[in-house]
């Protein structure tokens, strides 16, 4: 007997490769979206800082805009720099 697979349609869930499950700002899961968004994934991506903390991009932008003097990571208080 020979079995040949002609096509395989699988099911998978996607997730962000991050060192945490949920965003430290909005407390929503990374795999969900920030509180302002309706669609997860491409529409509400994550960004990493040099300090290796990551957030929903919308969350960290809002945070940075609210900071008057220093742009700091809300988790570790280091200066916030986007990781390239």
């Amino acid at each position: 007997m020979k079995v040949r697979i002609k096509g395989w349609t699988g099911v998978a869930t996607w997730r962000w490769v991050a060192n945490d499950d949920s965003c430290g700002i909005c407390r929503m899961p990374f795999d969900g979206c920030c509180s302002d968004c309706r669609l997860p994934g491409d529409d509400c991506p994550l960004v990493w800082g040099c300090c290796s903390h990551c957030f929903h991009i919308h969350c960290i932008m809002k945070w940075l805009q609210s900071q008057q003097l220093h742009q700091q990571c809300p988790m570790c208080r280091q200066e916030w720099k986007f990781k390239e």
């Binding site: 349609t9 099911v11 998978a12 997860p40």
Partner: protein, 810 residues
């Protein structure tokens, strides 16, 4: 006569004259009315002279009354007393036929009539006496002495009426009515009934057709009625019978007319029928067959019209409505075919007071015919939907519906598959009933959201709720559309959307159809009906978008430019889901064969490259595989589940496997494995040679005695593949119960904490404390909590003694 009237002899003579003229001694037999006008005038003058007017009148009337009481009335009744004796002796009701009864009554009545008529000259004389002398009598009724006489006749008759008389008169009128009804119906039905053979019996008088005596009966009947009418006795003696016969025939007719057909409006036709019959019959009775009612006495005319409207038409409505109410359950089920019947009922309900009866009767019909375990949920729901529509016709305000449907709603709430069915039929185009409802673009009206009064509602046309509306629901809630009604069975939208989400997930993951157009459309409808902002609907939206995104990602990964395609043995596509937005999946373990895993990993790499920083978690047991199984004598092209594919791939390398071994290689539990293997058994590829051991059945080489091959393959009956088809429609989503269990797990850490600190607690305390600590997040009733804790006890995570829960020591 001279003025010397005072001498005794003269007085004697005068008194005799007076006595004779006025029959003061009651010897009416001599009456011939022989006194001429002149003579009468002289006698009257004489009475006036002696001033004995009052005295003579009293004597004269008294003589008449006594004769009535003592002679005439007993004679009249004697006809019937004989009858009643006969009847008692013979004890046989049918001993006397209608003809005999007829003639007996006719004789008696005409005799009575004659004797009554013979009094008329006497009454006339008394009237003259009253006029001339100013004597007075006790006038009980208006209309002069004649009426007074009739009154006395009636009184005397009634005081001596024998018991058998009513029976007899009933018989008499029944026979007559039968004749009448027969001719009436015969006249009406002539066109339609021509085909029926010549009846042996006359329908009117039950005699043989050639000896029909209908005409005789009618004649006698008319005569009796005429005489009774003239004596003013008809209404008294026979009024009840006359009307009860009519009412009886109305009831019969309505019942037969309304039997089992609801597709026509009957009330107009019935009204006409009743009018014909009633007017016809009363004409016969009150006009004695002497012509039309219009030419009759105005008093009788008003009597007939009044009784027609007040009694018979009202009786018609009553009977009709009660008949229909008894059939109402069927009428409701057959809606919309039964629309005319419903409209009839609606019109009749306004004229009768049968609403309460309708409610209770329909409720009990529903209870006995619908709300029992033998009826499918589908049917209950269909009945409910028909009831909503049908009762809307009856009562646009929805009060009836509210009252009737409460038990149905309560019952549906108790059935597990209600929500699933409702949601399925909402989104299923073949079930147009609900599907069309979904397209109505108005938001739902739910019980739990109090609606403000619509300011645009014109206040001039406002009407108060009917008195029956004792529920607190507002008018708008009662008149909500069908979907709102269905959703209101549970009182919350969430139950429905949760169910919809599960169904949607199932559909996506069983069909793997990337065409989302239809789902998007339904989602839009649902959004309109259930409200844009519902978080659960948002999740559904993401789910549908996942499908569309997957399609795009697949096409980009599998495009020809992608170098990885070379490495892959077979094309892989994937349904990529946003886990947060999907209902939880049934967790099943499955270890895919090496080659498959490799190819899936290649796909994952491609995905990671496409979407930086994101990766895939495969759900190995979900999906759809196209396989080609090449056997010696045939090739199978099949679409199977990953588990089934894995099984057959393992058999490729080794033709004999025990369940045990296969289970350890694939990590699929044995029970599940056994179930999945059945599929290959029905395909004739695998065979169970001994318990839990399966071998590959290759079949013989093509052309080499294929007949024997089949014999070898399926010869021994014990080895024949069991014909159990796997349930393909099995849901891949976790059941609602499992999901709930997961929710309740939230409590577990709290409970453990509580019991660690407080040692042991009763159920009530745990429940109360949970309510305090875990406010609002998850609702949980005490029963549910008890079930949850009991499960924990069964798994030895808890100990339950003396009504207290505590943690096991370890």
């Amino acid at each position: 006569m001279s003025s010397t009237t005072k001498s005794p002899a003269n007085q004697e003579k005068q008194w005799n004259i007076i006595k004779n003229v006025f029959c003061l001694e009651g010897t009416f037999s001599l009456l011939e009315g022989g006194e001429g006008e002149e003579e009468m005038r002289q006698v009257l003058r004489l009475v006036q002279q002696v001033g004995a007017g009052q005295l003579v009148l009293d004597f004269a009337l008294d003589a008449i009354w006594v004769t009535l009481r003592k002679v005439i009335v007993p004679k009249f009744w004697s006809h019937f007393i004989v009858y009643s004796k006969q009847k008692n002796d013979g004890d046989d009701e049918s001993s006397e036929g209608s003809v005999e009864v007829m003639s007996r009554i006719a004789t008696a009545v005409s005799e009575l009539y004659d004797s009554a008529v013979s009094f008329i000259p006497q009454i006339h004389k008394c009237e003259m006496l009253v006029d001339q002398t100013g004597a007075v009598y006790e006038a009980c009724v208006a209309g002069g002495l004649m009426e007074h006489f009739k009154l006395h006749l009636r009184a005397s008759l009634h005081s001596q009426m024998p018991t058998s008389f009513t029976l007899l008169i009933h018989k008499f009128y029944t026979a007559a009515f039968k004749v009448f009804y027969h001719t009436q119906v015969g006249n009406q039905g002539e066109e339609t009934d021509e085909t029926s053979e010549e009846p042996i019996q006359c329908g009117g008088c039950d005699a043989a057709t050639d000896a029909c005596h209908c005409q005789a009966i009618t004649n006698t009947f008319c005569q009796v009625n005429r005489q009774l009418l003239e004596l003013d006795l008809l209404e008294r003696l026979a009024g009840d019978v006359v009307s009860s016969l009519l009412l009886g025939v109305i009831t019969d007719h309505v019942t037969t007319t309304c039997r089992d057909s609801y597709d026509q409006s009957r009330i107009k036709q019935l009204e006409k029928w009743v009018e014909n019959i009633v007017v016809g019959w009363l004409e016969v009775v009150y006009c004695g067959g002497r012509g039309q009612l219009s030419s009759a006495d105005p008093a009788i005319q008003t009597l007939v019209t009044n009784s027609l409207n007040q009694t018979y038409i009202a009786a018609l409505y009553h009977t009709y409505t009660t008949t229909r109410i008894d059939q109402l359950f069927n009428i409701v089920i057959e809606y919309p075919e039964s629309q005319p019947a419903l409209e009839d009922i609606r019109d009749c309900l306004d004229r009768t007071h049968l609403r309460d009866r309708l409610v209770s009767s329909l409720r009990s019909a529903i209870q006995t015919r619908l709300l029992h375990p033998g009826v499918n949920t589908t049917d209950v729901l269909h009945a409910y939907i028909s009831a909503i529509k049908a009762l809307r016709v009856l009562d646009p305000k929805g009060v009836l519906l509210e009252l009737v449907s409460e038990p149905v709603r309560q019952y549906l709430r108790g059935r597990e598959d209600t929500v699933r069915y409702i949601v399925t039929s909402l989104t299923d185009e073949s079930c147009s009933e609900l599907c069309e409802e979904l397209l109505v673009a108005t938001p739902l009206v739910l019980d739990d959201c109090p609606t403000e009064d619509d300011p645009s509602d014109p206040w001039q046309t406002w009407t108060p709720d009917p008195v029956h509306a004792h529920t607190l629901k507002s008018k708008s809630q009662r008149t909500a559309d069908i979907i709102s009604m269905l959703v209101n069975i549970y009182g919350s939208k969430d139950v429905f959307i949760t169910e919809y989400r599960t169904i949607l997930a199932d559909r996506i993951l069983s069909q793997f159809n990337y065409n989302t157009e239809r789902e998007v459309r339904y989602l839009e409808h649902l959004k309109v009906r259930f409200g844009e902002t519902l978080p659960l609907l948002h999740k559904c939206e993401v789910m549908v978008k996942d499908v569309a995104d997957s399609k795009r990602i697949n096409s980009s990964i599998n495009s020809d430019e992608n170098p990885r395609r070379e490495k892959q043995k077979f094309p892989v596509s994937c349904m990529i889901l946003s886990a947060q937005f999907w209902p939880s999946f049934k967790e099943e373990r499955l270890k895919l064969p090496e080659e498959v895993t490799r190819d899936l990993d290649t796909y994952t790499e491609a995905f990671q490259e496409l979407k930086g920083n994101r990766t895939l978690n495969w759900k190995p047991h979900l999906g759809q595989v196209q396989v080609e199984v090449e056997l010696k004598n045939r090739t199978l092209n099949l679409t199977v589940t990953p588990t089934q594919a894995t099984i057959i791939l393992h058999f490729e390398g080794r033709s004999k496997w025990s369940i045990e071994d296969l289970s350890s290689v694939t990590q699929v539990p044995k029970t599940v494995l056994r179930r999945k293997i059945t599929y290959w058994q029905t395909q004739g590829v695998l065979q169970e040679v001994e318990t839990d051991v399966f071998v590959l059945v290759e079949g013989e080489e093509a052309g080499e005695e294929s007949g024997e091959a089949t014999v070898a393959g399926i010869s021994s009956p014990s080895l024949a593949p069991p014909a159990i088809e796997e349930d393909e429609a099995e849901s891949v989503m976790a059941s609602a119960q499992d999901q709930r269990e997961e929710e309740l797990q939230v409590f577990w850490s709290y409970i453990v904490g509580m019991l660690t600190n407080l040692d042991s607690l009763p159920l009530e305390r745990i429940h109360a404390m949970l309510k305090m600590f875990v406010q609002g997040s998850v609702e949980c009733s005490q029963q549910e909590l008890r079930a949850f804790l009991d499960r924990k006890v069964r798994h030895h995570h808890l100990i339950f003694t003396n009504g207290l829960y505590k943690l096991p020591k370890n």
